[in-house]
Symmetry: C2
């Protein structure tokens, strides 16, 4: 949680955190500012950033035009243009904006007497800032500006455990997400079937593109944003976990549809992540069997998950359970594209993928207060099928894993419009 940051900075021997970039769609910054219209600066303006010193409140350095937005964050604020005479710095830097940014940072680090190690963060144009930091490193050789290991960084670790307000925001996104999934189910099943594909009243085939447009619309209606799109993948596409589906394709009955949806709060805040696999009208026997295997593994692993255990244990357990049922997995063959081919889970919050990692290569421990997905799946692209079930769940402080929003698991959606 945010209240852990000073302790984590001490453990990491960091004197300051420097967070770059805008407040929207930039987890490390949003974590401090909340949802706000604070831009990254640049392009003739000074850069905007946040400085968090050990034991002190964070300071946001903002543009003149965004002074009221900055003040509304409740953070300490400084005007990175007026308070530091940025035009003079830009002249001193021969109008080189990277050098001017480095001079501005040098001035501020000197003002606050920061001499030691500074961890740097923010989703921002990398090359532009690399040039700035290279200038700054040359000017301040005694200050160590470093990137932390993303999986272990101070902000990553703080963000792993969520406070009650974060849980409620993620849950609210879950309510929106599942409501839209329900809307999509109703929309699909209201169609008629012709030659094995969904058609509307005019007899025209419904396409994946039509459905995706509706998903975005219904998310917007409920106040959510969908910056990463969604997966609505049918048949062979469903057999490849990250294939998103082809817009022009029609929608068949009796084939697996993997519908994976991961929207966030409008303005770039907390995410939810959710998948159901559907067969419209009916499911072939082999799909049904695969689905039952996934569901059984989901339920077995879900009920086994406890706090304070290594996350990778559950990934290994999932692999072993699938292998016992005769499915290949990445445990025995890391290169397999058939069977179980991805991680069981991941943390989620201001990023759709954040710590903890369930990858077998890492030793992340599942902490009470964290929010994770649980998403086993089986994929057989050459057989034209894939199945995944995913919920987002809160490892509560009392050690109970709670699905934030419940939603039916049914594979087959009966057609209503036929």
């Amino acid at each position: 949680m945010k209240t852990d940051i000073d302790r984590l900075m001490k453990e990491a021997d960091l004197d300051a955190l420097l967070v770059l970039g805008p407040a929207a769609h930039n987890g490390p910054m949003t974590y401090f500012t909340g949802l706000a219209h604070l831009s990254a600066g640049g392009n003739g303006q000074p850069p905007c950033f946040l400085l968090k010193m050990s034991g002190r409140k964070a300071i946001h350095f903002h543009l003149p035009m965004e002074r009221e937005e900055a003040a509304a964050t409740g953070l300490q604020t400084k005007n990175s243009y007026e308070d530091y005479d940025y035009p003079a710095l830009l002249e001193q830097a021969n109008r080189d904006s990277n050098q001017a940014a480095a001079l501005l940072l040098e001035t501020i680090l000197t003002e606050y007497k920061i001499h030691g190690r500074i961890g740097i963060y923010g989703r921002i144009e990398f090359g532009h800032w690399l040039r700035t930091i290279d200038f700054l490193r040359r000017r301040l050789p005694d200050v160590e500006i470093l990137g932390e290991n993303m999986l272990r960084s101070v902000i990553t670790q703080a963000r792993v455990t969520k406070d009650d307000s974060e849980i409620e925001r993620i849950r609210a996104m879950g309510r929106i997400t599942t409501a839209v999934v329900g809307d999509v189910a109703g929309y699909l099943t209201s169609h008629s079937v012709k030659d094995g594909y969904l058609v509307n009243r005019e007899g025209e085939q419904l396409t994946i593109g039509n459905v995706k447009r509706k998903i975005n619309l219904w998310l917007a209606m409920r106040g959510a944003e969908n910056p990463k799109g969604s997966i609505f993948a049918v048949g062979r596409d469903a057999g490849i976990p990250h294939s998103t589906g082809t817009d022009a394709d029609p929608i068949p009955v009796g084939q697996t549809i993997v519908f994976d949806i991961y929207p966030c709060e409008a303005g770039g805040g907390y995410f939810y992540d959710f998948t159901r696999t559907w067969c419209l009208d009916h499911a072939p026997d082999d799909v049904l069997q695969i689905y039952e295997d996934v569901l059984e593994v989901y339920e077995t692993v879900y009920s086994a998950i406890r706090p304070h255990k290594p996350c990778c244990d559950y990934q290994i357990q999932t692999c072993e359970l699938f292998e016992a049922k005769g499915h290949p997995t990445i445990l025995s063959n890391p290169m397999t594209t058939d069977g179980y081919v991805h991680s069981l889970a991941h943390g989620i919050g201001l990023d759709v993928h954040e710590a903890p990692s369930f990858n077998m290569k890492y030793d992340d421990v599942l902490l009470p207060g964290s929010v994770i997905t649980v998403e086993p799946g089986l994929y057989y692209p050459d057989r034209g099928l894939g199945v995944r079930i995913e919920d987002t769940a809160w490892m509560r402080p009392d050690g109970v894993l709670e699905t934030l929003v419940e939603f039916p698991m049914d594979l087959v959606l009966k057609m209503q419009g036929a």
Copy 2:
């Protein structure tokens, strides 16, 4: 244009461009991949990136799960997991994902015999990649990995001039944007007025939050995305260019509303940028005067804009025109918050703000084929007003500046629902 990249690389003495990060909401990557579901990798997976060597087709290095999405880009593709035995690299790196990423990059740079200068790009978590690049620099001391000056980088310069397909995509976003602006105008004027504020049929006050929700909805209906929100700022908020408006505030008649909307293609592609200032029902005389000043300056400057001239000339001209009318500007007082306080214009494309810059400190030249905004404004926060007019325009190859989508300039919107 993309076809300029090899020439620009030569001029910048760069042997390769290395572009990091996902394909969505990441201009430098989207420029090569188009809209695609290609993630950034990481978190136990190898990183994803693109390598463009001088005189050669770009290569995208993708995750196994995204092989079909990568192939669909038409780029040359490699699987950064299987083709380089990433699990072995991760072991060699003692499971440190930054070191493993550096080893992967070292392997690839060696494979392609890249020894010289590499320009690095991509909107990505800065600290994470700084750690990777610091490792790589230590391992390959003879390779120079550098950030370019953002205003002058190879990809920035290529992107300044748009080809016909880019123009048509920006224009299509303009049609969506202006259609939504028309919807908003119709929605506002369909309300009744009570005690000077808009109310619905139940007599409840309409709020800015209500309007912003509708904006997002109508953009989604038309297939656009709104990742940066919009400005719908009334009265004093309108007097501060980047104040976005307060959701809970009601909407008055007879005060300036600055409505600035800058959505992009769903999936994170091309932007449009557009502003109108409205007074509902009527405009006070002082507002009308300010508005006429802005409109006159807009028309004078717009008609003066020619290709191959320094962009800052038009910024200076705008300041001089406003000062001649008695308004303070940043030409005489860079710190003023009254009068004309920002740039006349900016380039627009895969980012809402991109080159060229119209800042007086820079010497960007306006090239035929570029797309720019034109957006003079006047701000008097203490008088509770602000006025800005903005269109997006194409500097055509024949030297004519063409507004991509026309829309009425009226200040006063007559109420229809009263």
